[in-house]
C-alpha cells in the first residue's frame, strides 16, 4: 500500500481523452518518476493530484484519505507540496519572507487573522526560516527581492519553501525545465541530498532522462494518457515497449 494511490482515473477534455484508466502507487519514502512523451497526460495527472483538476472517474487517495473535491490549499494542508515548472514564488517579497509564509501556513492553517501581532516578534518562525535558508545555502540572499534572483536560485527557494512545510509528499513538475546544465546538476544534487536526509516521498515529472535516472527509485511511463509500465529504473531502460513509445524517438 503506497502513500499515494491513484486508481482508475479518467479525465476527458471535451472529446479528448487526457487520462484513461490511470493506476499509480507511490511507495512511502521513495522517489517515483513519471515520464512520457509530450501530451502523455503527465501534467493533467499532476493537476488531478493537487486539486486543480477533478478526474471524471476514479479515486486518488493520499495516506488513506481521498483528495478528490478538495481545494489546492486543503490538499497542501494534508501534506502534499508542489513545485512548479516555472518557479512560483512571491516575487515582490524578500527571500526571508518567502520562506516564512509556508511556515506560517503550517503553524496557523489556511487562514488566521493575526493582524495585530508583529512578524518581527515571531521568533520561532524566523528561526525556522533562517534554518531552512541555511540548509538551502541561501542565507546571504535573505533580504533580496525574490524576483531579482536567478532562475536556479528561484527554483532552490521554491523547493526550500515546500520543504519548510515538512510535507509527506513532494511533487515536482519538471524541476529542471529550461535550466542550464550547471543549474540542473545543482538541482539534482539538492534533491539527492533531500532524499537522503529526510523521510519524504517525492513524485517527479521529468523530461530529462539524466535527472530521472539519477534520482528515481521507481518509474512510471505514461503514453497517451495510460500507464505503459511501472518498474525499477534498470528494467525501464531495457523495456522494448518504453523504447518504442518514448526513448526510441528521443534516442
Amino acid at each position: 500500500m503506497g502513500i499515494l494511490e491513484v486508481k482508475n482515473v479518467n479525465k476527458n477534455f471535451g472529446g479528448l481523452k487526457a487520462l484513461s484508466d490511470v493506476n499509480l502507487s507511490v511507495r512511502e519514502n521513495s522517489v517515483h518518476a513519471i515520464i512520457g512523451p509530450n501530451g502523455a497526460g503527465k501534467s493533467t495527472l499532476l493537476n488531478c493530484l493537487v486539486g486543480k483538476l477533478i478526474p471524471d472517474t476514479g479515486s486518488v487517495m493520499f495516506d488513506g484519505q481521498s483528495v478528490l473535491g478538495r481545494k489546492p490549499y486543503e490538499i497542501n494542508q494534508m501534506g502534499i507540496s508542489r513545485v512548479f515548472q516555472t518557479p512560483e514564488i512571491f516575487g515582490d517579497l524578500t527571500v526571508l519572507e518567502n520562506m516564512m509564509i509556508p511556515i506560517f501556513a503550517r503553524r496557523d492553517g489556511a487562514f488566521r487573522m493575526h493582524a495585530y501581532e508583529s512578524v518581527a516578534r515571531e521568533r520561532g518562525i524566523l528561526e525556522q526560516a533562517e534554518h531552512v535558508l541555511e540548509d538551502m545555502k541561501m542565507a546571504d540572499k535573505r533580504h533580496m527581492h525574490a524576483a531579482s534572483m536567478s532562475r536556479g536560485d528561484k527554483r532552490r527557494l521554491e523547493i526550500g519553501m515546500c520543504l519548510s512545510q515538512e510535507p509527506r509528499l513532494l511533487l515536482l513538475d519538471e524541476p529542471t525545465a529550461g535550466m542550464a546544465r550547471a543549474d540542473t546538476n545543482n538541482t539534482i544534487d539538492l534533491l539527492k541530498q533531500i532524499k537522503e536526509e529526510r523521510d519524504i516521498t517525492i513524485a517527479i515529472i521529468e523530461h530529462d532522462m539524466h535527472v530521472v535516472f539519477s534520482l528515481a527509485d521507481r518509474i512510471t511511463v505514461l503514453a497517451q494518457g495510460t500507464p505503459l509500465v511501472e518498474d525499477d529504473p534498470q528494467n525501464i531502460k531495457g523495456n522494448p515497449k518504453v523504447r518504442e513509445a518514448y526513448l526510441g524517438e528521443s534516442a
Partner: protein
C-alpha cells in the same frame, strides 16, 4: 513603543506631531498678508485633510497590500455618513454612538459586497465594485427615498430636523454634534501678532482618531496578516499551493478597508451633520484611488500625504481666480502677463478637475510609486547616487501583473 520598531515609531510620532500642530503648520502666513490665501489652517479644511487621510489609509490596506483595485469604496463612506446622521436624528448628537454605528454598518456592507465581488479578481473585481457602488448611489439618490420609505432623503440629503425624535437629547447639550457636551464646532482662536490659529474640537477628535487608525494600519502592515496580503498580491497560485486560503484574507482586508471608509463617513457627518448621495458616486471612489496612488500605494505614509496634497490643492486652486493670477504675473510685461493668465486660467478655479486629471495621468505615467517614491529618489540624489538597499517592507510595487488562481 507600542510594539513598533524604531522606524515605525518615528513615523507615528511624525504623524502625531504633524496632526497635533497642524493649526500652526498650515497657517504659516499672517492673516492679512497676500500669502494668506495659501493658508489651510481652517477647521473645516483641516478636518477634511484628516478624514480623507483616514479614508485613504483604509483604501490602501486593500489596494496597496493585496492589489485589488476597488472602484466602489465611496459607497462605504456614504453608508457611514447615513448611519451617523440617523443616530443624530433618532437618538443623540453625541458622536461616539454615531461613529461606532458608521463603522459597524460599513463593515456589514463591505462584508456583503466583498463576499460577492471577491469571487472574481482583476478587472472583473474592479467593475463589480464599480457596479455595486453605482447601485448604492442610485439606491441612495432615488430608490430609498420615496414617500413610503424614506431612508436617504434623496437629492436634498439626509439631515436633522427640529421634529426628529432625538430621544436622548437634553436641552443642556449643544444642538450640534458633540462629544459628551463638547460641541464639534467649538473653536478656540489664538492670535499671535499678525497670525491667527484656530483650534477646533472636531478637528482634534479627528486627529486623535487618525493617530489611532494610523497606528493600527502600521500594526497590520507589520503583521503576519499584512505579509499574507502582500503575498496575495504577489502570487495567488503559490498561496493556494502553500496551504493558504486567499479568500478570507482578501475579504478581511476588504472589510477592514470598508470600516475605515465607514469611519471616515461617520466623522464627516459628525463634523457637519448631513449625508448626501453624491458622496457615493464613483468619481468619489476615483478620488480616493488617486490619493493612494499619488501618495504611494503600499506605503504607510503615502495615502495620508496623497489625501493632504489633493485636498490642499483642491482648496487653493479653487480659490484662485484671474485677479489673483494677474497679481502673480504682474511683474511680467503686459502682453506676456495676459498670455500667462490665459494659459493658466483653465487649470484653476473651476478647472481644478482638469488639473486633477492631468495629475492622475502624470503620476501613473512617471511616478508609479507616488510621492513617497519621488521623495526617495530625491533623497537618493542628494545622498550622491549611493545605492541604497531596498528598505524592508516599505515599498511594494510589483512590475509584473499578479498571478491569480481560479
Amino acid at each position: 513603543m507600542l510594539g513598533l520598531n524604531k522606524k515605525d515609531t518615528t513615523l507615528l510620532l511624525v504623524v502625531a506631531v504633524l496632526t497635533l500642530f497642524a493649526p500652526f503648520i498650515l497657517n504659516p502666513f499672517p492673516t492679512d498678508s497676500a500669502m494668506a490665501q495659501f493658508n489651510a489652517g481652517y477647521p473645516d479644511l483641516m478636518q477634511r485633510f484628516i478624514i480623507f487621510g483616514i479614508f485613504a489609509i483604509g483604501f490602501n490596506i486593500l489596494f496597496g497590500l493585496t492589489g485589488y483595485l476597488s472602484f466602489g469604496h465611496a459607497a462605504f463612506l456614504g453608508v457611514g455618513s447615513y448611519s451617523a446622521v440617523w443616530i443624530f436624528k433618532l437618538f443623540t448628537y453625541n458622536v461616539i454612538p454615531a461613529i461606532t454605528l458608521s463603522v459597524v454598518i460599513a463593515a456589514i456592507f463591505s462584508l456583503i459586497i466583498g463576499f460577492v465581488s471577491l469571487r472574481r479578481s482583476g478587472i472583473y473585481f474592479s467593475i463589480l465594485t464599480l457596479a455595486f457602488a453605482q447601485m448604492s448611489f442610485a439606491l441612495a439618490y432615488s430608490v430609498l427615498s420615496n414617500p413610503k420609505f424614506n431612508l436617504t432623503n434623496g437629492e436634498t440629503g439626509l439631515q436633522v430636523y427640529a421634529d426628529d425624535p432625538q430621544w436622548f437629547h437634553r436641552d443642556s447639550l449643544p444642538d450640534l454634534p458633540h462629544l459628551f457636551g463638547l460641541s464639534m464646532n467649538s473653536t478656540y482662536t489664538l492670535d499671535v501678532g499678525a497670525w491667527r490659529f484656530d483650534f477646533n474640537a472636531g478637528y482634534y477628535l479627528c486627529a486623535v482618531i487618525l493617530m489611532i487608525v494610523f497606528f493600527l494600519a502600521i500594526r497590520i502592515f507589520r503583521s503576519p496578516f499584512g505579509m499574507m496580503l502582500r503575498a496575495v498580491k504577489s502570487n495567488q497560485q503559490r498561496m493556494n499551493y502553500t496551504g493558504l486560503n486567499t479568500r478570507p484574507y482578501t475579504l478581511a482586508a476588504f472589510v477592514i478597508s470598508g470600516m475605515y471608509a465607514g469611519l471616515a463617513g461617520g466623522l464627516m457627518a459628525a463634523m457637519d451633520p448631513l449625508a448626501g448621495a453624491e458622496r457615493m458616486q464613483w468619481t468619489a471612489s476615483g478620488e480616493v484611488v488617486l490619493m493612494a496612488i499619488l501618495g504611494g500605494a503600499g506605503t504607510l505614509i503615502g495615502p495620508v500625504l496623497g489625501a493632504g496634497f489633493i485636498k490642499y490643492f483642491e482648496n487653493i486652486f479653487s480659490k484662485i481666480n484671474d485677479t489673483v493670477l494677474h497679481s502673480w504675473f504682474s511683474f511680467l510685461p503686459d502682453g506676456i502677463e495676459d498670455f500667462m493668465v490665459f494659459i493658466v486660467h483653465p487649470f484653476i478655479g473651476k478647472g481644478w478637475h482638469l488639473t486633477l486629471g492631468l495629475l492622475f495621468m502624470l503620476v501613473v505615467v512617471f511616478l508609479p510609486g507616488g510621492l513617497v517614491e519621488g521623495g526617495q529618489r530625491i533623497a537618493r540624489l542628494l545622498k550622491g547616487k549611493k545605492k541604497t538597499p531596498p528598505s524592508d517592507g516599505e515599498d511594494h510595487h510589483p512590475k509584473k501583473p499578479p498571478h491569480v488562481a481560479e
